[in-house]
Point group: C2
Chain length 381, copies 2
């Protein structure tokens, strides 16, 4: 916030109470049979502590939880990567596995490519059994053993633990006040929380940096010539607790939607602030057709300046879903590398700032700046 | 060896004495300044133990060892990947850094792409100062700090240790005796040792599997019809101590080259037993032009069967360099993925068998089987 103040933004934070708390412990898992082998694991958010030793049942689809007898067993998942949406459901399997009597779950990391880096994330909140992710290499090794009829026994010690105490966090809000329509808000956003491993550079430090750079560009433009000052207010919000279920954004939306403020646009940046390299780069759009066409007009300008981008209807707005569902035109930026490539690093120790090339942040910032500035000034928005 | 005997091969092992010994300890390194940060490290083969705390000097080229004052400092390398050959020299920098007074070296992992996986390898044997590799992410982070003028302090504790005791290992040898020219040997080989981390699947389990599968294919062909039995002896050797400097192969070569046996061809497989996908897949060839043309004739057959491959002059024969340097026509198989892709996994925890697709081993085996069988039967070889 100090850094934003130094850049002459009006900055404040808004409390978000009642967030769940979970502390990562010193967790470990070993294969005991068919041979001793230390597994590379990361507990899944919300996992309760527990010491479990037992036989393994491997599943490759969620229906196998029912089809195979998992009672008293440690479930190891060995699903194929078929995109994040369909694959991440395995990371959320703990509570259901517990219903079928499983004693623990070890989930193959949700990634299309691995260099022995284990991924974590949300998925075990409220689960009565311990849940952790393992590397794809090890999940597949265990699956091969199991396919060959070998008995696999794992010893798991999870000391990670949720707490009944709820905690307070904060959204960070700063804005460029509109000159003639200050009560109309053009919202651009990213989330300030990240997982405890790695640097959180890609998820979502890059998003933050891009939103910040977009705001700076617009502010400096207005300083060069007051005529460039946006008519509507452009507000940036750095959400808290996205990883726990977009909790910061939901709270903000619930408290701001029915006030004097009128949100006219909302954007999300959570898929890696990569430079768009081709037309697989999209703005996931949720809203009416009239505003979609207007956004397409702005995207045409970007295309004309060598930025490949398309507008695609989608109801996947993540942090700004609450705004989108209230009928506010919303976009979620997904560069071409925001698909499979992004998930190589996502929620793992590999989420380091070295993922980005220098142009990545500035191009992403350019997209948000052009969108926000045009929308903030459009007479017939 | 039991498994090879079950497949009806004549198998024996041959002692290789005098190998150096080095034991990986429980090594650790922390950044102390500008902020506390645990580094992901792997000691480099031969590193002596040592506890060192000190200021960091970052180098990006080997000449900077001289240009910068490294006396009493911990040298961190932040070289760019420019291919394995030119980049791996940084992993061998410890002894020279010690000459300029450095107290330790931390080498950026030698890889074109990282997911926070640290790589190890040979390079510090005889070094008076501790030497370890760190992730590319962390080397670059330290370099960024240093570029910004921040003081970087690292605390290193290496307990890995070389021993004065020399150890005995063994090469594994099996063959298909030639029907009419048994004293002429067509040698196909891979190495049986690997680093202690990961599975050693790519370096060089895949090579072993491909050589073994090639030998099985030739043997079964001979069983189907004795006319297919090779005229010359086809011998497979699984070398020990390649990683320590092709020591097993050198010893074998020194002891076998000047005997009644006459080696007529030698091959190496150490760049990943990947299926060739395009004509960037090569046989690095060392030898005379006459035999090169004959190998090209065999490669033509492979090309005609949909296996893209070229023959390229090269003096990079690794394990079979001793044979090649003695004038024996030699090839070293390098598939297209044996270049940059291979080094994503090489000498790291990520070297798991999941790297290979099923066809990879069988295509690689096919290449060696076709080469060995044709050469073993060629009248005018």
């Amino acid at each position: 916030m100090d850094s934003l103040r130094k850049d002459n933004f009006r900055v404040h934070s808004e409390p978000v109470p009642g967030l769940p708390r979970w502390k990562r412990g010193d967790d470990s898992a070993f294969v005991v049979e068919p041979r001793k082998h230390k597994l590379n694991i990361l507990a899944i958010d919300g996992s309760p502590p527990g010491q479990v030793e037992g036989d393994v049942v491997v599943i490759r689809s969620t229906t196998e939880l029912q089809a195979k007898n998992v009672r008293g067993k440690i479930v190891v998942t060995a699903q194929k990567w078929t995109g994040y949406g369909p694959t991440v459901k395995f990371r959320r399997i703990a509570t259901e596995a517990a219903k079928y009597g499983a004693s623990a779950v070890l989930v193959k990391s949700v990634t299309p490519f691995s260099l022995y880096n284990v991924h974590t994330g949300a998925g075990a909140r409220g689960s009565p059994i311990p849940a952790a992710c393992i590397t794809t290499e090890e999940a597949d090794m265990i699956a091969r053993w199991s396919d060959r009829g070998k008995r696999v026994v794992i010893r798991l010690n999870i000391t990670s633990s949720p707490s009944d105490d709820l905690v307070l966090s904060r959204n960070v809000v700063f804005e460029i006040p509109g000159s003639t329509l200050p009560q109309e808000i053009v919202l651009i956003s990213a989330h300030i929380d990240s997982w405890d491993i790695g640097q959180g550079a890609l998820d979502d430090g890059g998003g933050l940096a891009a939103v910040r750079a977009a705001m700076l560009a617009i502010q400096r433009l207005a300083q060069v010539n007051p005529a460039f000052r946006p008519k509507r207010t452009i507000r940036a919000v750095f959400w808290t607790a996205e990883e726990q279920g977009t909790l910061g954004a939901r709270y903000y939306c619930a408290n701001h939607l029915n006030t004097d403020e009128r949100f006219v646009f909302a954007s999300e940046s959570d898929q890696g602030a990569f430079r768009p390299r081709n037309f697989n780069s999209i703005l996931r759009y949720q809203g009416d057709e009239k505003h979609k066409r207007k956004i397409e007009e702005i995207v045409d300008i970007l295309n004309g300046n060598g930025v490949p981008l398309r507008v695609v209807n989608s109801r996947d707005q993540v942090d700004v879903a609450c705004f989108a569902n209230a009928g506010i035109p919303s976009v979620n930026y997904e560069p071409d590398r925001g698909k499979d490539y992004y998930f190589n690093f996502h929620h793992s120790e590999a989420d380091y700032v070295s993922i980005f090339e220098e142009d990545d942040i500035s191009y992403t910032a350019g997209i948000f700046a052009v969108l926000a500035h045009n929308i903030a000034n459009m007479d017939d928005w």
